[in-house]
């Protein structure tokens, strides 16, 4: 065991997969000598050399497009996009190619590619450094979308993502990068993609969340524990979504809410509400609540605390669902 924060766990997963598999190569902006702006690749260029830890031109669509080519040849590229706000130039490559090449070629070609990037608000960053674009990506067939909330899961999920034969978008909650330190095994382990985790068992209300909102969701559940027993689900993989775990929980509690910092309309909370309607309607005893960001561009930091869901908003939503 080693005590690591989330960014340290990401780094350890990258290092160990590079040791295990010669085909794993990293590419991105400032990931070599500088070790990445969040230091997720710190020191790896010294250990693996500049042919495996590659500083690229400032070229997000190029990074992803070229990484698709590397993957087609049989390498296992892990591309870093510096911030989620700079992922957008690469969306064409992700939507039009990474997610479609297996299908277009009827399985002759596939794209074992991981695209890592920090996402989300709460760090007083400039514009374009705080978005939560997961719904755009979950709406894209052919790619998987993964989002750890803890160091342990970060290492296990990233290891699975690198070994996965399909393209994986690995969203790292930058607000949590250094916020939590926990024991992480140095031994090889994986957290399987597509499996949610019940992080707190409860009987009255199901709360579904992911990424940086998990800490606040757990705090909220703790705050109301004397009156309401909340079951908290960390989705961990957003696509493919673990519908079975959500359904089983709602069948037990009869009440549910989803918490995310992305904008409200057509966010993943809407999908979760729809899924619960389809699979557990007869168990429902209250309308499903959403605690979300607003349908506005993510604000600069003078207003970000009003935008971001906080424990208070989550507590109120839990109480509303529980008392309906």
């Amino acid at each position: 065991m080693v005590q690591l924060n989330l960014v340290g766990a990401v780094r350890l997963a990258l290092k160990q997969e590079m040791e295990r598999d010669q085909d794993v190569v990293l590419l991105g902006e400032d990931i070599g000598t500088d070790g990445g702006v969040f230091r997720a690749t710190d020191g790896l260029i010294k250990e693996f050399g500049e042919n495996r830890v590659i500083d690229t031109p400032l070229s997000e669509s190029g990074i992803v497009g070229v990484a698709i080519g590397l993957a087609l040849y049989g390498l296992k590229p892990v591309a870093e996009i510096q911030f989620e706000g700079f992922l957008y130039p690469a969306l064409d490559q992700i939507i039009s190619h990474a997610g479609r090449i297996r299908n277009r070629s009827r399985g002759r070609f596939h794209v074992p590619l991981v695209i890592r990037f920090p996402y989300g608000g709460g760090i007083s960053a400039p514009e374009h450094h705080s978005d939560s674009p997961e719904a755009l990506l979950v709406h894209t067939p052919g790619v998987k979308v993964v989002m750890p909330s803890t160091p342990y899961d970060a290492k296990g999920l990233l290891t699975s993502a690198i070994r996965d034969p399909d393209p994986v978008l690995f969203m790292e909650p930058k607000r949590v990068y250094r916020a939590i330190v926990e024991d992480v095994p140095e031994d090889d382990y994986t957290v399987p993609l597509g499996e949610a985790k019940i992080v707190r068992e409860g009987a009255d209300v199901t709360l579904v969340s992911w990424g940086a909102m998990m800490r606040l969701s757990r705090e909220a559940a703790e705050k109301v524990k004397d009156t309401i027993s909340v079951e908290v689900i960390d989705l961990r993989t957003l696509s493919p979504m673990d519908i079975a775990t959500i359904t089983r929980s709602v069948e037990k509690t009869g009440r549910a809410l989803a918490v995310h910092e992305a904008p409200r309309t057509a966010g993943l909370g809407a999908e979760i509400a729809a899924v619960i309607n389809e699979t557990a309607f007869l168990s429902l005893e209250a309308p499903i609540e959403r605690v979300t960001g607003f349908d506005v561009p993510f604000p600069q930091h003078k207003l970000e605390n009003y935008y971001l869901p906080d424990t208070e908003r989550i507590v109120k939503a839990i109480q509303k669902v529980a008392s309906f």
Binding site: P57, G62, G69, R108
Partner: protein, 359 residues
């Protein structure tokens, strides 16, 4: 301080065969007479394939199809220069290149008839899938070639795109990577003068498209794209250079799209018949046949046989692709991920149930 010259550049244009089929022997590439005939036969086959595709589309037997008419020398002679281990990354208008590199004719028709199975090429074939979003394939080719270099495999990659694509960001980002990492890729720009209705002059104010390579630190050459010998020579040299570790080359083949952009387009809306007539006089197939006549490689009997063989091949290809069973609905779902996700499994089962058991 006096200003110093910080850089000096020039772009040359390569021509080997003139419009009357006269060959500059000093520039002629090392092709045997049999190889010249093979080039010619592939170009004729490409036109037969293309002509029939247009007919099939009008009859509703295939979907939208982009004609290669007029670009046969650019496509066939460049793909003919590929080594056995080299790879070809298409855009979408390269029937001549696919035919030359061995994409079975019946599978090409099957693809254009809306069946993805047509692009599942046999494992030993080295053609990547068609890329329809313009220019997006260039980074793939660059990454693929770069991976080969990182692994120490001595192969080269040839990627096609057009004059319109040369304005797309991905083409530039791909070229930039190719230059920085000295990637064994040959970038072949089919400058066919028209991006649907927008002429070459509106894509860029630059004199040539080839000169775009200069800004990425590698060589760009312009070639008469209706001259099979010039295209072959430039591509062969660029591929050899790539394989021997000397980095990328951009080749601009100056040619002409004699047909509409696709079967959904009407080129008469935006260009004159005089322009088309001018380029028809430069027809790449006729130009090679004129050379062959002068060199004693051509006769009426030979021509009749070449035309009859081509017609027979495309006829059989149509018969074969039309006798393939339609795809099953499970194919709608099966290829999105390596394994069917629980969600997709449910969607498949729901669809199968709704159409009565499915297949």
């Amino acid at each position: 301080m006096p200003r110093e010259v910080a850089g000096k550049f020039e772009v040359s244009m390569l021509k080997v065969l003139d419009e009357e089929g006269n060959c500059d022997e000093a520039l002629k590439p090392a092709l045997t007479n049999d190889q010249v005939k093979q080039l010619y036969e592939l170009m004729v086959l490409t036109r037969a394939f293309d002509d029939l595709a247009l007919k099939l589309q009008r009859e509703g037997r295939i979907g939208t199809y982009p004609s290669s008419r007029g670009q046969e020398a650019t496509q066939v002679a460049s793909a003919y220069a590929l080594g056995e281990s080299d790879w070809l990354f298409p855009a979408f208008r390269e029937a001549g290149a696919y035919i030359t590199k061995g994409w079975p004719l019946e599978m090409q028709y099957q693809y254009w008839a809306g069946d993805e199975r047509g692009s599942k090429l046999p494992e030993n074939n080295r053609i990547f899938t068609i890329a329809i979003p313009v220019g997006t394939q260039v980074p793939h080719a660059v990454g693929f070639a770069w991976a080969a270099k990182l692994r120490g495999d001595k192969i080269a990659v040839l990627v096609y795109f057009g004059d319109g694509a040369s304005s797309e960001g991905d083409v530039h980002e791909g070229m930039n990577f190719a230059g920085v990492f000295k990637v064994p890729v040959v970038l072949l720009c089919q400058n066919n003068q028209w991006a649907i209705s927008v002429p070459r002059s509106k894509q860029t104010a630059a004199e040539t498209l080839a000169q775009r390579a200069i800004s990425y630190g590698f060589e760009g050459v312009q070639v008469d794209g209706n001259d099979a010998f010039a295209v072959y020579k430039a591509t062969r040299e660029a591929l050899d250079k790539a394989r021997s570790g000397n980095g990328p080359t951009l080749i601009e083949c100056v040619t002409y799209r004699m047909g509409d952009h696709t079967t959904s387009d009407d080129a008469q809306r935006y260009r004159t018949s005089r322009e088309l007539e001018e380029w028809t006089r430069r027809d790449p197939i006729e130009r090679l046949s004129k050379y062959m006549k002068k060199s004693g490689l051509w006769s009426n009997d030979y021509e009749n046989k070449v035309q009859a063989d081509a017609a027979e091949k495309v006829r059989i290809a149509v018969e074969e692709f039309e006798s393939v069973k339609p795809p099953e609905i499970k194919d709608l779902f099966a290829w999105t991920y390596a394994e069917l996700t629980p969600n997709l499994k449910k969607q498949y089962e729901d669809l199968a149930r709704s159409i009565g058991g499915g297949n």
